[in-house]
Amino acid sequence: MEDKLKTLGEAASLIASGSSISIGGFTSQRHPTALLRKLIKDGVRDLIIYCHSAGSDVDLLIGAGSVKRVEGAYQADGVFTPISPNWRRFVEAGRIHFEDYSNASMMARFAAGAMGLPFMPVKSMLGSDLMERWGFSSEERKVDPEAAPAKVHKMECPFTGQQLALVPAIKTDFCLLHVQKASPQGLLRIEGQEFLDVQQAMASRCVIATCEEVVKDEELRRNPELNRIPHFAVDAVVHLPFGAHPHSVHNAYDYDPEHLMEFSRASKDDASFDRYLERYVFGPDSHEEYLELIGGEARMRALRARSGLGYNPELARRGGDR
């Protein structure tokens, strides 16, 4: 079987400006953040992003001016940043296009894409402005080949008469994941919550996975109940320990409260966010240099998960108060 191991640079170079992408993980967890930094550094722009509960993964791309449009449900880093600051700033200033769904309806859209269906029915959205207020008009949709022809259709069930919302499938050019374990052939194992990674991957034409650990294919195949995404759905694997920093990876390391708060503070305006990008994205020449910059071995040790818990119970988490 084909070896799909790539360097970070090789993997990032697959993604052209204007691509549609989805990003694995959930708020502050298990995002392929090192890969996103590389995309920004490489000047990738005009990304169309499909997400559910995003955090400072998408917010980093927004702040870097790499995003044209977001279709999603949520932008926040939990207690660290209850509203993703670049998201808020860019939407309020009219600097990106956006369309709002709920998490369950975005889940259904990705699931439809993964399942080869043009839509999924959901009971959510009824009675809500999610149904009534569209991010893009029917006219805008007509000239945008990437947009679904309608945000949602209301339907009466032909069996029961009950009302349902039909939401259009998502099929992205790329799905970018960070997982605990991958084989060189692309078989992926996820520990802890899957979030929506499986459906996002199966709804994408090209899947790129960064991972904490590269494990032999035969080794992963010894526990096939634990594997989540088949090798033939994955196009590139990048070995990138701590590749999700400042986000957490279950069983590997915790989120970095200091860095997340620094990110949040830096996002107050373009000038200060440019300084953040200069320091953390454009400054380091490699992922290894980035890890040195954020505190190297000592910081990584401080974040490392305790075995049997999956996170670090000793972590100083009240970064917001410092």
Partner: protein
């Protein structure tokens, strides 16, 4: 023992909305405090759910968000959004869902999206997340919010998560066959909704305030005639909240 802070009062009030044995869907923040407290007091057999994939955890440390690894301690299943939303929430198994919001209107409709025009908002919020789904599909919902007049308007600017919509039968007419808000727990009191009309009324006001003060800070008409003072937290509840649920002071400031 130090008297209960408003945050603590709200967490205890939230916990009391949970009956033992119930299946509970909780979002980030105060609902987690309430759920963890309930699990450690009167509701040891409740089942907690987080949309990111944790099914029935026995958490040792307060999570910073619903996706936090801390939600996986002792969990029955580590799954994902697909399983939780489809097989548990949409299938009608969730008995009570806890929600927050930037604006809550007269009929318990929630705005977590934007204040002002949707396309060019004055303030943009994170968006629904699972809020619209939980509000639509849970057996009942408990909403938690700071009590400020501008946050409790007659009508939300953007209706993210359906409450009783325009009251009366309007929720069912919109095609939502179950659920609806049962309580709005605020920094000043607990608001509930009349049976058929779904008009809000003040059920209790927190110690230190008055029914009139609550009505004054509310942007919609509020019947205060049936209100009594909120039952103060028991010392054991405060003790568990401070020492066990949030000893790190993530939400509860010492």
């Amino acid at each position: 023992m130090r008297a209960a802070s408003t945050t603590e009062l709200m967490a205890v009030a939230a916990a009391r909305e949970i009956a033992d044995g119930e299946i509970v869907f909780a979002g980030t923040g105060l609902p987690m405090l309430g759920a963890m407290l309930a699990q450690r007091t009167h509701a040891p057999n409740m089942t907690l759910l987080f949309e990111a994939g944790a099914i029935d955890p026995r958490m040792l440390h307060l999570p910073m968000s619903v996706g936090d690894s801390r939600t996986l301690v002792g969990v029955a299943q580590a799954a994902g959004l697909f399983e939780v939303f489809n097989y548990i929430l949409q299938s009608g198994r969730v008995e009570v869902g806890f929600l927050g919001g930037a604006q809550i209107d007269r009929y318990g409709n929630i705005n977590s999206t934007a204040v002002g025009d949707y396309h060019h908002p004055d303030v943009r919020f994170p968006g629904s997340g699972g809020s619209a789904d939980v509000a639509t599909l849970s057996g009942r919902t408990v909403i938690m919010a700071p009590h400020e007049r501008r946050r409790l308007p007659e009508r939300v600017d953007y209706l993210t998560s359906p409450g009783w919509l325009e009251g009366g039968e309007s929720r069912v007419r919109a095609g939502i066959l179950t659920g609806g808000p049962s309580a709005l727990v605020t920094t000043m009191g607990v608001i509930r909704y009349r049976e058929a009309s779904h008009e809000p009324y003040l059920d209790s006001f927190h110690p230190g305030t008055t029914p009139e003060a609550v009505r004054e800070e509310t942007g919609f008409p509020l019947d205060i005639s049936d209100s009594t003072e909120t039952l103060a937290p028991a010392p054991e509840e405060l003790e568990i909240l401070r020492r066990v649920v949030d000893p790190e002071g993530i939400f509860i400031k010492p």
